[in-house]
């Protein structure tokens, strides 16, 4: 068991080191996030629509799309110079490889979100002071779920033609439920509704994470055997 986590952490460290040296995923995802925020800000008719009404959807469009951009990078990296074959030749559990890649993807997406959230607060002038903990909880739970499925799908789509187009199409049905729950929870948080109204969504998000992380751990090895 200790071996399992050691391998996972080694894969995570490798991915973070590669990203630290090139910074391609972060930069592309972040510029995408900023672009989205800026476009939404100018698209809004200030007289017709309040910032608060639009804020949750803007936030989640930014998170979901920059997440997909970051996920697309994760296995494209392994494809170059057949790095994946090297990983697969190592006598380690495929589940541990998945966990390592998953944690690395999670770290990317969290990093993008950690930058996009303050930008969102600044650009949109939304006061989330009192509910910042709730917004972070909902974000973490929703991200943890769709990144798990996204990691499995990114490993597959990288083997296809037009990988960058295939991932969003395949991920869409799996992205919709957690994002719709998260956006509803965020909207209620921002409009200061009681915590009891949000508890149901949070539980659903937690359940989604648990079920899909387990399912992905179980199916990932069968993607990798030759």
């Amino acid at each position: 068991m200790a071996e399992f986590f050691r391998v996972a952490l080694a894969v995570l460290a490798k991915d973070l080191r590669v990203e630290h040296r090139s910074r391609t995923a972060m930069v592309s995802a972040l510029s995408f996030a900023v672009l989205t925020l800026v476009i939404f800000n100018f698209a809004r008719d200030a007289a017709a629509l309040s910032r608060e009404a639009m804020a949750p959807s803007v936030l989640w469009i930014t998170f979901a799309f920059s997440g997909v951009v970051a996920l697309n990078r994760s296995f494209a990296l392994e494809r170059e110079n057949a790095a994946l074959d090297g990983l697969l030749m190592a006598p380690v559990s495929r589940g541990a490889l998945f966990l390592g890649k998953y944690l690395a993807n999670l770290a990317f997406v969290f990093a993008v979100e950690a930058v996009a959230l303050p930008l969102f607060i600044v650009f949109f002038g939304v006061d989330i002071g009192g509910v910042v903990g709730g917004v972070i909880l909902v974000t973490v739970l929703a991200t943890a779920g769709f990144v798990a499925v996204g990691t499995v799908f990114a490993a597959m789509t990288v083997r296809t033609r037009l990988a960058e187009l295939m991932l969003p199409l395949l991920l869409l049905p799996f992205l919709l439920p957690p994002v719709t729950w998260a956006v509803q929870a965020t909207a209620r948080l921002l409009s200061g509704r009681p915590a009891s109204e949000i508890a149901g969504w949070v539980r659903l998000l937690g359940l989604y994470d648990l079920v899909f992380l387990t399912a992905c751990l179980l199916v990932f090895p069968s993607l990798m055997d030759e």
């Binding site: 597959m156 789509t157 049905p173 439920p177 659903l204």
Partner: protein, 236 residues
């Protein structure tokens, strides 16, 4: 090549089922329009119910078949299971399109809107995208073994997703009619309408089986020996 003959027999049996199903469908139309009374509040648009509900049932059934065949494929690695999953997915895509087009046709006169972001409607859209993604992935992969494994994973994860999305139906306030047949208490549909619905569900299920069998049989005929075309197709 007894295999080819076997496949041809499956395909022709499938075609016979389709023919029977189409005749049955004509019967359903007559039964629904001529021998079932018009609903008092919705009027004639309610007749779409007898096509919409069976199509939705078939789409869901097809997706369950895809999921089960996918799980069995990863376990047994039998190429026939992969072909069966593919046949069920293609058929399911067709039924989900029927479901998605008949719904708005009913919604416009009765609700006054083509589409609403109700949980059930969102659910059907998600189901449609699942089929679409599954098909797109298959067409983008050249190596048959890789295609079989990858699409099986999508099929299994899709099967996990479906109950989840269904759960959300209870969380949303909804415009969509509540279940009237499959619910804990007795069906609240008048007998005449229930009869027409059940006949239609039966006919649609026959059509589903016919389509899947035909596609499967044709696939078997084309595939012949599965591994023959392998190797060299994948660029890297």
């Amino acid at each position: 090549m007894p295999d080819i003959l076997d496949a041809r027999r499956t395909a022709s049996r499938g075609l016979m089922l389709i023919a029977a199903g189409l005749a049955g469908l004509a019967g359903v139309y007559v039964l629904a329009l001529r021998f079932t009374s018009v609903e008092r509040f919705q009027g004639l648009p309610q007749k779409i119910f007898y096509v919409h509900v069976p199509a939705a049932w078939c789409a869901l059934l097809a997706f369950s078949l895809v999921g089960i065949a996918s799980a069995l494929y990863l376990w047994l690695r039998d190429p026939r299971l992969d072909l069966f999953a593919e046949s069920a997915a293609s058929t399911g895509l067709v039924f989900s399109i029927v479901m998605l087009t008949t719904g708005p046709l009913w919604g416009k006169p009765v609700w006054g809107t083509w589409w609403t972001w109700d949980a059930r409607l969102t659910f059907t859209l998600i189901l449609f995208f699942l089929f679409l993604g599954y098909r797109a992935l298959r067409s983008a992969l050249a190596d048959p073994l890789e295609r079989a494994r990858f699409s099986a994973v999508v099929g299994i994860l899709g099967l996990v997703l479906v109950p989840f999305v269904h759960l959300t139906v209870y969380f949303f306030r909804t415009l969509h009619p509540q279940p009237i047949v499959l619910k804990p208490s007795a069906p609240s549909l008048p007998w005449e309408m229930l009869r027409t619905l059940l006949v239609s569900v039966g006919v649609f299920t026959v059509l589903l089986i016919g389509f899947v069998m035909t596609r499967y049989g044709v696939g078997r005929m084309g595939a012949g020996d599965w591994g023959a075309e392998e190797g060299g197709t994948d660029g890297s």
